[in-house]
Amino acid sequence: MNFLFHLSERVNPFQSIIILSAAVLISSFFALSKSKAVKKFLIVLVSISLIIAFYLNIYSYLSMGSFSSFLIFFENIQMIEIGIIIFSAISVLYFISAYHVDDENFSKILIIFLFSVICGAFVILSKNFILMFVSISVFILSIFQLISATNSGVDKISLHVFEFFLRPVLAIILFFFGFSLLYGVTDFKDFNQILQSEYMSDALVILTLIIFGIALYLYFFLFPFQGPYMRMIKKGSFSTASVIWFFYFPVGVFTLINTGSLFLFFIERNNTFLPVLLIIITYFCMLAANIGAVKTGSVRRIMSFLFLFFMSIFLLNISMYSTGIIDRGSMDLFNLVNIFIILFSFMPLCSIFNNIEKNTGADNINNVIGLGRINIYAGINIIVIFLSWFGFLYYIEPVRAYLDRVDFLKMGAASSMVLVAMVTGFIFFSVNIFRILGKIFNRPSGGEAGKVLFTGSLYAYITFFSVITLLGIVTILLVILDIDIVFLDFKITGFNF
């Protein structure tokens, strides 16, 4: 045991990455195999390695604390982010295993998938510009290889996959150009050094941040550039959406969070242009996402639009911070909660709707009519999952606190715009939720919903998320009602606005 502890100390904080790398190494010996037994073995191996990596990630932080070096830094935020990525990876593994286990290239797909998890971890850990750039580029490459490999049997998908990945490639080229401009200001090698230095207000730093902002905007496929993302999700295999939603986007969000201090520096200096621009973009994205979801009958397109709505919630949080409605700590908390809501709702919903499409043979919202009445257990789980989307009611408290502090009639234009954007966006969002729920619990017609069969693993999968969601709802209710419960030295009512 002492030996393992010393070894762990030596390799800190790469323990989880080393476990995953070992799994890649072992799996590569079976890369050419098409045997079912080998595929099952690989699924078990990858699952165990992800679970051990998840445990070691938390253990390394709790036992050895923060770590910082020339290339990387590992603090509590990085631990949480890597934990989320590994948890998402376990979910993505479920989708890949469910829909590609009969694929003759399944072993190769799993190896590429594991490597993309490792790259995602490096993106989060990176501090040095070179490591940051190389890790995000290799991450995008590995995601491209994963998507193209899982879609190699889908007819006429290659154009859409290619179109989709041209955007992140342009984003990394813009990152490269941005880093070259940053080099003209200073030869500091990480963002924290620049943030604490006198160079922060330099003209080239501002230009670099503009270029980085454009690159991130392209990366996230925000409106009006959502076309390739919508087309690829619509046409792709069942696992494509899971890889993009639970992998590609979260890593981008964590990159934004880790570099967000630079953008927030200018917001905190009472720049008027930036908050107004942010609010306009937020309002535009929230509205376009909801209207798009309402106007289509394709379940994939509805979910894709709603996912972009959740992405715009991050912009909403930043807008609210820029206008003073919430403080920095609350903004970080809301961003984290948003990630959890996305993952814990979209994962089970993705699995349910994929199953419906697979059983009915068509991607249409009308195929879910009556599902809640035919399969009551699935219906209850769906209600619980959608309840998590009403978690946006947590915005009520900070808005109420803000309106208590500031006279409503003397509120600034920017604050008013944020509140209007928030209210309008959530009203439209509620319309979408009720539309979907209405279809699910309507009287069955056509018999399509009757064809839907749920496997045991699917029931277990969605039940797990429903239980987590229920626990989350109970916790929040306890906070709101100010009922103090101490659980593992953690006070449930510890959150304040």
Binding site: K156, F162, V169, I173, R231, G292, R301
Partner: protein, 123 residues
Amino acid sequence: MGYGNRGEEKMSFQLIIYANLLLLLIGIFGILYSKDIVSIFVSMQLIIISGVMNFLVFSQFLYQRSLWDKIFIILGVTIIYFVMFCLVYYLYLNKDELSRETLYNNFKFFKIKKSDWWGEDNI
């Protein structure tokens, strides 16, 4: 260029920086204007070269030829070209002739269609 007085150096440095930025704008123009995938790749190359030139010029004039930027260029350009190589390879192996020809002749990087915003997308 390393000779004469500071004024001449600064003028030359300014000229080179503006030339690099002009190259960047030519690249952006190419991405917006192009109707085929080859032009888009060419435009991306121009932006990459503009970035590389920025590194080299800043290293030459501001840091007296440091090593860090060379390493960034080597690793960064290697990985960017590798990613683009994989993309083109995927395109090259594409057995769907219609997609290949669409990309070759009638492909705009930023194309806005009504179906991307609402309604159905019959692809």
